[in-house]
Subunit: 152 residues, 2 copies
DNA sequence: ATTTTTAGGTTGCAAAATGCAAGCGAACTG
DNA sequence: CAGTTCGCTTGCATTTTGCAACCTAAAAAT
């Protein structure tokens, strides 16, 4: 496990993986602007390390100028761990998390993971959970059969 | 989640929590000698931060000289996440992990977590998985609710 | 065909975190 | 009383981080 933490045990790596997995982020810019404020040199370094560690892959986008980062099989396999961390954080740290959504995930772990894996396999870039506060569009229906948008 | 990583997102914090949870470590010395080689100043700092973050508690030991660190409710709640990380690491990083034991944990998540929680509640310092060896022995199996330990 | 914008970085530098070895005070032990 | 164990702290060198500025290549706009 110490080897795992060599790769993932820092302030940013898991945040990047989470952004790829649940928010569907793919490009350098998206990570950069994801609100937490990572410096560009650190972001570049982390992406390289994750690539070297076999957690992400980079591929040129169709438009020719941007690069798309994508989780590998090894990377998407972090989903269960990340889900548990998300739940733990919602309960014990993040007071601003959308409680109803989290509770639903908690009671529907398998479905959430299945949906996460499907989105990865089909390269579906839609966010797993829609952006927190200003979501008025009923676009993305995340987890399982029973899904209802409950605001905070 | 970024708040969670403020507290846990570094090379050592999760390793300390794991040592408390699965190896039953309690004292400064035990953490220090746990093989990974953390410097004493860093260890002291991490223990303080984990205490400040409400993940561990410190209590004076009976012998008067040593201190016992113990996971709080919030700390033991990290068990599901840590179990998933352990499994992920065994599959994708740690080639030296005891594969059979891991596989058993994987198919028995709920029981492993129940046993972990019991050990915490009863202050049972026995390691969850004994120092690495073959897992064909039923006595070492932590999974079942049957337990005959007479500590305390 | 030039300019402008966008994307994905690199570089230099200061500040903070880390690793290492040594030492320190209090509590027990002989 | 001397010596050991325990949980740290201190000083110092090295490494990592954060910040801002800058760079190149390609697409878009003019």
């Amino acid at each position: 496990m110490s080897l795992s933490l060599d790769l993932l045990g820092d302030r940013w790596s898991l945040l990047i993986v989470r952004d790829m997995m649940v928010r569907g982020y793919r490009t350098f810019r998206e990570f950069q602007r994801s609100g937490e404020g990572i410096a560009t040199n650190i972001l570049a370094d982390r992406l390289h390390r994750l690539e070297a560690g076999g957690v992400v892959d980079r591929e040129a986008a169709e438009d020719g100028r941007s690069t798309h980062y994508r989780l590998t099989e090894k990377g998407i396999a972090l989903a269960p761990m990340l889900l548990e961390l998300l739940i733990w954080g919602a309960h014990h740290e993040d007071s601003d998390a959308p409680c109803a959504a989290i509770e639903q995930m908690e009671q529907n772990r398998a479905a959430v993971l299945a949906e996460t894996y499907r989105r990865w396999k089909e390269r579906d870039p839609a966010p797993l959970l829609p952006p927190f506060r200003s979501s008025t569009e009923p676009a993305a229906a995340p987890a399982a059969a029973s899904n209802r948008r409950t605001s905070k």
